[in-house]
């Protein structure tokens, strides 16, 4: 089998296992959609001022924010927890003893996560359009949105790989993954809109991390705020860092 066929084949099996696993199908896939329905139903008909003099419908805001959240769960949480579990149970070590090149195995996981992320974003956007007449990005804004989506997905996959380095075992995985991500989701305006009245020190902390930039990059096209390529650069830098850490320290064998 050549590399492309091997990759395709690998993604097929990862995909099968993904949908049959109730935990991954629920937490990765249904969770963001559930939040989307809850947030928009509760708050959808108000509007908020995101920048001085620029107000948007909350439903539109949440459609964009939940699209960003979906990418984070599909990539970061899914990869980190999946790998921590597979590493602990010995699946990774077994794979390492077969001739499949590690690059293909890893790329398979990554592309599958990207695939799940894209489906989630499409569902989220369609839901927003259908029920709340959310404005979807078009033209240049769509292009910018897609760039952010792809760069962000790859970055959160890389960070998912990287965080496994500090996860000692599968039991600790949910705690570490959530503790490292949940605060950032709150800080970055994913669950609670960041308005023009937010304290600046909070924003400064948020700005250090990639979620904030990713969220803004994803939201711009929906909210009609200017797209800042700096967001893409910062997210990509984090991705590169995650990749380098994984490349150097990723382990295929359970830790003791």
């Amino acid at each position: 089998m050549n590399s492309v066929a091997m990759l395709e084949n690998q993604i097929k099996y990862i995909n099968k296992a993904f949908w049959r696993n109730p935990a991954s199908a629920f937490f990765t896939f249904s969770f963001p959609l559930m939040f989307l329905v809850i947030f928009t139903s509760l708050l959808g008909h108000h509007s908020i001022e995101i920048q001085p003099g620029h107000s948007v419908d909350i439903s539109t805001y949440y459609v964009a924010a939940m699209a960003a959240y979906a990418v984070v769960t599909a990539c970061y949480n899914n990869i980190a927890m999946g790998l921590a579990f597979q590493r602990d149970s010995g699946v990774l070590k077994r794979t390492r003893g077969t001739p499949i090149p590690s690059g293909i195995y890893i790329l398979g996981r990554l592309l599958h996560a990207l695939f799940v992320a894209v489906i989630l974003v499409i569902i989220t956007a369609a839901y927003g359009k259908l029920f709340y007449h959310a404005t979807l990005p078009t033209g240049t804004a769509l292009f910018e949105f897609l760039v952010m989506l792809i760069v962000g997905s790859l970055t959160f996959c890389a960070l998912g790989f990287a965080i496994t380095v500090v996860i000692p075992n599968a039991d600790a995985a949910p705690a570490i993954v959530n503790a490292s991500m949940l605060p950032l989701l709150f800080l970055s305006g994913i669950f609670i809109p960041i308005t023009s009245t937010a304290p600046s020190w909070l924003i400064w902390i948020a700005k250090v991390f990639p979620v904030y930039h990713f969220a803004w990059g994803m939201k711009s096209g929906f909210l009609g705020t200017p797209f800042d390529w700096m967001h893409v650069v910062i997210v990509a830098a984090w991705g590169l860092g995650g990749f380098l850490v994984s490349f150097r320290f990723f382990s295929w064998e359970p830790k003791r």
Binding site: M6, K16, A17, R20, V91, G97, P99, I100
Partner: protein, 312 residues
């Protein structure tokens, strides 16, 4: 590489490995022939897994030469992985795929896989083809492990404790699977704690204790087991004493034993005396050292130092 490597499936010289301050292997030499079932027998922490995982390419050695199918596992891992099958001591598998899907997935990693149906037949899992892996019993999971190891139709298989934790009938089943492998011409290296397993399966075995091989050979003749003294044991009724020429030693009240290499002659002498004297020899039996006796002798404290003279 030396020419003598080509006839042996595995050749190991002066293998050393330590983990921090723990000396796990202190100079191991091994030669395993093609088509052979070879067992590494030893207590917990002896170094079995360390040896096997160095041969598989998972761990790096500190010193020594290793050739597996003529390949240095650390230098050409890919060339080796294509030709070996591995069952790790503790291992897992994706739980949500079916048995057939799992074997098929692993087959797809190899250039010349063995047909999935054939593999499932070999390990006796045809009936569970479409069952999800998470619903298999422990014994069935281990057979799936062997099935996955067979996916690439390897020349050489490593089985690290293939039957630990099994009930006796599940062990028997896995034994038959392993015997089947040999009839396919595969070389099998297995580790075990069980004497009966080594005795039943292995063409040759090595006993390892404390990171060193203390005995190596065929199960029947290991460490001179066949040449060791046999013991004739019997009991006599109250007041009867065996004649001196039999060389019997009293071990308890009424209980005697004779240590001998001439079992037939001594038994004849003993029974002829008993017949003519009209005495009944209660509990008459002949004991030879079992593999377990040899094993315990070699692997318990102080046993290892005596191994040299036994080996001779």
């Amino acid at each position: 590489m030396d020419s003598h490597y080509s006839s042996a499936a595995i050749s190991v010289r002066g293998l050393k490995k330590s983990y921090g301050n723990t000396l796990a292997l202190r100079g191991v030499d091994l030669e395993i022939q093609q088509g052979e079932i070879f067992a590494l027998l030893g207590p917990n922490g002896a170094g079995k897994t360390t040896i096997v995982e160095i041969l598989e390419g998972f761990r790096h050695r500190d010193e020594g030469d290793v050739a597996v199918l003529g390949i240095d596992p650390n230098r050409q891992p890919m060339a080796l992985k294509i030709r070996i099958g591995i069952v790790l001591q503790s291992t897992g598998v994706e739980r949500y795929l079916s048995v057939a899907e799992t074997v098929k997935m692993y087959s797809s990693y190899y250039p010349h896989p063995r047909p999935v149906g054939e593999i499932l037949g070999l390990v006796g899992l045809e009936a569970k083809r479409d069952e999800r892996v998470l619903r298999l019993s422990g014994g069935q999971q281990r057979r799936l492990d062997v099935a996955i190891a067979l996916a690439g139709d390897p020349d050489l298989l490593f089985l690290d404790e293939p039957t630990t934790g099994f009930d006796p009938s599940a062990r028997r089943e896995v034994w038959e699977v392993i015997k089947n492998l040999q009839s396919l011409g595969k070389t099998v290296v297995l580790t075990t704690h069980f004497m009966d397993e080594a005795q039943y399966l292995a063409d040759r075995l090595a006993i390892i204790a404390n990171g060193k091989i203390v005995a190596e050979g065929e199960p029947e003749t290991l460490a001179g087991r066949d040449r060791m003294l046999a013991t004739v044991r019997f009991s006599l009724p109250d007041g009867v004493v065996p004649p001196l020429h039999l060389g019997a030693r009293m071990t308890a009240a009424h209980a005697y034993e004779v240590k001998t290499t001439l079992v037939t002659k001594d038994l004849f002498d003993l029974t002829s005396w008993a017949m003519s004297a009209g005495v009944d020899l209660e509990d008459l039996r002949v004991d030879r050292p079992t593999l377990e006796d040899v094993y315990l002798e070699l692997t318990t404290e102080g046993g290892a130092s005596k191994s040299k003279e036994v080996e001779s």
